[in-house]
C-alpha cells in the first residue's frame, strides 16, 4: 500500500460518484434515489476539496465551491422532498415506477 494522495481520493470520489449513479438508476424508491443524489454531490465535494488541497492550495476556490454545493444540495433536497411528499399524496406511493403516467 502506498502513501495516499490525490489519486486515491479521486478514486474514492469517482467510486462514490458512480455508486450514486448506480443507485439513482436502480432504486425504485424516490427517497433512496434522493439519497443517491446526495452521494453524487458529496463525491463532487470531495473532488473539489482534494484538488484544492493537493493542486491549487493558493486559493480557496474549491472549498468555496464545496460550501455552495452543500447549500444548494440542502435546498434541492428540501424541494425534492416537498415534491416527493406531494407525490405521495397524489399517488399514495413513492415508488418511481408508479409515476409513469406521462409517457410516449
Amino acid at each position: 500500500m502506498m502513501e495516499p494522495g490525490l489519486y486515491h481520493i479521486l478514486f474514492i470520489s469517482a467510486g462514490l460518484f458512480f455508486i450514486g449513479v448506480y443507485g439513482f438508476l436502480t432504486r425504485r424508491n424516490l427517497i433512496t434515489m434522493l439519497m443517491s443524489i446526495e452521494l453524487i454531490l458529496n463525491s463532487v465535494n470531495l473532488n473539489f476539496i482534494a484538488f484544492n488541497k493537493y493542486l491549487w492550495p493558493g486559493k480557496l476556490d474549491g472549498l468555496f465551491f464545496t460550501i455552495f454545493i452543500i447549500a444548494i444540495a440542502a435546498a434541492e433536497a428540501a424541494v425534492a422532498i416537498a415534491i416527493i411528499i406531494n407525490l405521495y399524496r397524489t399517488h399514495r406511493s413513492i415508488d418511481v415506477e408508479d409515476a409513469e403516467q406521462l409517457k410516449y
Partner: protein, 644 residues
Amino acid sequence: MPNVIYILLIPILPFAAFLLLGLFGRKYIKNGAGIIGTLCMLIAAALALYIAYGYFFDYGKLDGVYRKIIPLKYNWLEFSPGISIDMGIVLDPISVMMLVVVTFISLMVHIYSLGYIKGEERFPTYYAFLGLFTFSMLGLVISTNIFQMYFFWELVGVSSFLLIGYYYDKPSAVAACKKAFIVTRFADLGFLIGILVLSYYGGTLDFNELIQRLASPESNEFKTAIASSFLGLSAITWGTVLVFIGGAGKSAMFPLHIWLPDAMEGPTPVSALIHAATMVVAGVFLVARLFPVFAISAPEALNLVGYVGAVSALFAAVIACTQTDIKRVLAYSTMSQIGYMMFALGVSGYGGEEGLGYTASMFHLFTHAMFKALLFLGAGAVIHYVHSNDMKDMGGLRKFMPVTHITFLIACLAIAGVPPFAGFFSKEEILLAAYQHNTSIYWIALITSGLTAFYMFRLYFNIFWNKEHHAHGEHHGEGGFVMMMPLILLAIGAAGAGFIHFGEFVSSDGAPLASVFHLQFSIAPVALGFAGILVAWILYKKQNDKPDKIAASVKSLYIAAYHKFYIDELYLFITKKILFNLIGRPVAWIDRHIVDGLMNAIGDLTRGIAELIKGFQSGKVQQYALYFLCGAVGLLLLFIYIWH
C-alpha cells in the same frame, strides 16, 4: 400589280364571316348567317378570279416565266436571326390556281348549304366553321413560309375537325372527328420534324430561300445537308420524307388514310369542300410547293411519293368497289384520285418537259376539285332525298331527281376519264408522265383507272337505276334552286375544265409547257374506262344476283376489301392495345404507385420510425437517466477514442 388589300381580302373575308358568325351568330344573326357567309365568300371568289386573271394574263409573267410575286411579308415571330415565321402572301401559278379552286368550291358549298343545312339549329355555327376553314385553306395556299403553312395546316385540320363533328351529339361523328384530327396530327408530327430538319439545314423557313439553298447543288447549305446523313439517307431526304408524311396524312395516303372514310360523318357539303376538293389536296400542294427540293435534292423521297401515291390509288380503288355507303365510295375514290396526283408528282422531274408530271398533277387537282365536289354535292342531294347513305336504300332515282342525275352522270364520266370530260385530260397527262418515267407505276395507274370507272358507275347505277325506288311518304323534291345551281355550275366545270391548256400556266419551273396529247396513247386508258363502265352496266343496271356471285367467287378478297383490308382494326389494335394498355395504363399506374408511392412511402416510413422509437420515451425517469448516462458515455467514447 393589284393592290395588296385585294389579295389580303380574299382570306380575310371568310375570317370576318367566321368571327361575326361565331361570336354573334347564335343570338343576333341567326337567320342572316347563311347570306352573310355566302356574300363574303362571293366577294372573295370574285377577288380570287380577278387576281387569277391579272396574274395569269397580266403581270404574272416575266421573261416568259411565271414568277413568284410576294406582295406582302410580315415578320410574325422571329426565332433567331434568319429563322422566323413570316406571314405573307405569295402569288405563283399554283397558289393562284388554288385560290380560285378554294374560293370557287367554297362558294358553291356555301350556296348549296343554304338549302342543305337550312333550318338546323346551329346554322350560324356551320357557316362560321365554313368561314374558318376557307380562311385557313386560303392562308395555307398563299404561304410564303413553311411555318406559315404549318400554321394554317393545323388550322385547316381543326376546322375539318369541327365540321366533321358538326353533329356533335352523334357518337359516330364525335369518334370520326377525333380520329381525323388525331391521325392527321400524327402525320403532322412528321411535318413538324421535317420542318425542323429542313429549316436547320436551310437556315431559313422561307420557301423561296429554302428552295434556293437546298435545291441548288452549289450552295453551302446543300453541301452540309447532303453530307450529314442518318441511316444512309441525307438530311434533305429525311426532311423531305418527314414533310411528305405530313402531306400524306392530310391527303389520306396509305396508310394514313383511315380517317377519310370516317370523316364522311360530317355534313355532305363539308365533305365536298374539305374532304374532296380542297383540304385533302393540301398534301399534294405541299409536295408541289417544295417540289424543287424533292426533285433535285431528294430523289429517294420523290420516289417514295410516287409509290405511296400509286399504292394508295389502287388500294382505295379496290376498296371502293365493295363499299355500299355512297359517301364512303366517294371517299375512297377521293383517296384514289389524290393518289394519282401524288404519284404524278412522284414521277415528275424538275423543269421543262421533265416536269410533265407536275403539271399533270396540278391539272388533275384542278379538275378533280370540280367533279369530286360535284359528286359529293350530288350525293348530298340524294341523301337529302332518301335520308340514307346506303346505296341499298336507293335505286331508280333518275326519275325523281333529274338535275342531280345528269350532273352526277357528268361527274362520273369525268372521273372515269371519258373524253371529253375534264378528268380525261388530266388523267391522260398523268398516265403519260408515269409511262415516261416509271412503268410499274404506270401499270398500277392503268388498272386503277379501269377500276375507277367500274366503281363510279357501280355507284351511279345503284343510285339512279337498279331497283325501282319506292317513294317515301313525304317528298320534298330535289331541293331548291340554291342546291341545284352549284350542281349545274360544277357540272359545267367538270365538263369543260379539261380544255384549259393547263401546262401553259402551271409547270414545275414556271415556264409554259406545251400541252401534249398522244391519241394512240389514250386508247388504252379510255378503253379500260369504257370496260369498267360496261361491267358496271352489266352488273348493276338491273337488280340481279351477279354481283353477289362474283363477290362470292373472290370471297376472301372481297371480304378483305369490304373491311378496308383491316387497316382500321390494325390501328385500333395499336392504339387501344399498345398505346393505351401497354403504355398509357402502365405509365399511369407507375405514376400513382411507384413514383407517388415513393413519395408517400417516405412519409409512411417516417411515421413508422416515429412509432417504432416511441419506447424511448417510456415515462420512467430512471430510464431517462440511464439514457442520459449512455449519451454521455457514448460522447466520451466517440470523442476520446474514435474522433480524437
